[in-house]
Symmetry: C2
Subunit: 247 residues, 2 copies
Amino acid sequence: MTNSIFTHRSIRKYKNDEIPANIMELIIEAATRASTTGNMQLYSIVLSRDENIKNSLLSCHFNQKMVVEAPVVMTFCADFNRFTLWCKQRNAKPGYNNFLSFFTAAIDALLAAQNACLEAENHGLGICYLGTTTYMANKIIDVLNLPQLVVPITTIVVGYPDETPDLTDRLPLEAIIHYETYTNYTENSINNIYQQKENMELYQNFVKENQLETLAQVFTDKRYTQKDNEFFSEEFLKAIKRQGFMP
Amino acid sequence: MTNSIFTHRSIRKYKNDEIPANIMELIIEAATRASTTGNMQLYSIVLSRDENIKNSLLSCHFNQKMVVEAPVVMTFCADFNRFTLWCKQRNAKPGYNNFLSFFTAAIDALLAAQNACLEAENHGLGICYLGTTTYMANKIIDVLNLPQLVVPITTIVVGYPDETPDLTDRLPLEAIIHYETYTNYTENSINNIYQQKENMELYQNFVKENQLETLAQVFTDKRYTQKDNEFFSEEFLKAIKRQGFMP
């Protein structure tokens, strides 16, 4: 058993090889060992391998090919449905159709997802998170038949890697850590934090390819624009409401 | 290096021993190795050790003593402040004052938190998540001086364990996994899923101590009531708005 925390790379190209059932079971069990609010396990994992389902999920994830190329797609959902059904069968009055309960279940789902990823990588598998899950929650709800009180939070694709990317750069640790309380950044500290990234050839090429002035503009003007963020904010809030979490 | 995924227990009693600086650094580095949206690292970690700060945090966490007894309290925050400041200094127009951006940053913060927990446990440390973070986000914002576009998402206490609790029970794997699409639960499947838990002496004592009829009622009537959930939903939404994520 290895420790994959420090060797994680997102994998975007996969071999055809299936994942053995015993390893798949360990991945799911790993997910369930994560901390969970009041031991309620407020998540479900939808594991999709069927070509038709994966093809339907493909367009939910902006046609990223790894959705169909990886053997397994795991959609991690905030799930208060199971717990609520149990309450109703046990003469208990559930009160989980609200935003806090949604967010609590989302936390549970994300901790479970990260455990699943690390365990998959411990067995030589690769994973990639699909951030498109929240953007396209409404369509995913349709494709996966998610009932009330179930909202997709994140998706991972899992399979044997067919590429060996380098470890991705990260900001220096001092960029993300604050001691005792939050110390806001100064113009100087922002310059220092981002200097290394901005000097990397990889990112300088991003700027050139996009014919922009700065790396930050690649994010604001191309990858994560205000317009898209506002549009998908409305969509995701609609999904949360539609699933009964904001009455 | 061990693998702590399958041996995690939440620790609620801690020794006084400090955490060595090199191990603390590994924990923080582990957090930064988690997947992060577009490699933006949309989180900050506030690491509090000072007695005064920990005492202020204590009441934010419903006076759970481990907040002052554990040597380190780590508050994981969704943080679009740093990234937004960088954009502004680089002639880029940030558009991250919206709900999707908040949720994206929360995902980043939670994946980082789970990596930190597992790495801490790999070094013989214990951790406990504090779900009270979202309940009391407004007060935590005040105590930790969190600026606009920074919202606390979860907190972990970290230290050397002074107890050795048993592994916590979990629902059977078939309770949380769905194949291809979501299969809703039946009366029978709910009974099967919760049977083992309901038969455990631990939980039967919960029911007796609370003079209730069913275990589900312990959750709905005592631990996670509709009234509290609705109150703290409003509070948490206020915090998200106050920090500039829902204009």
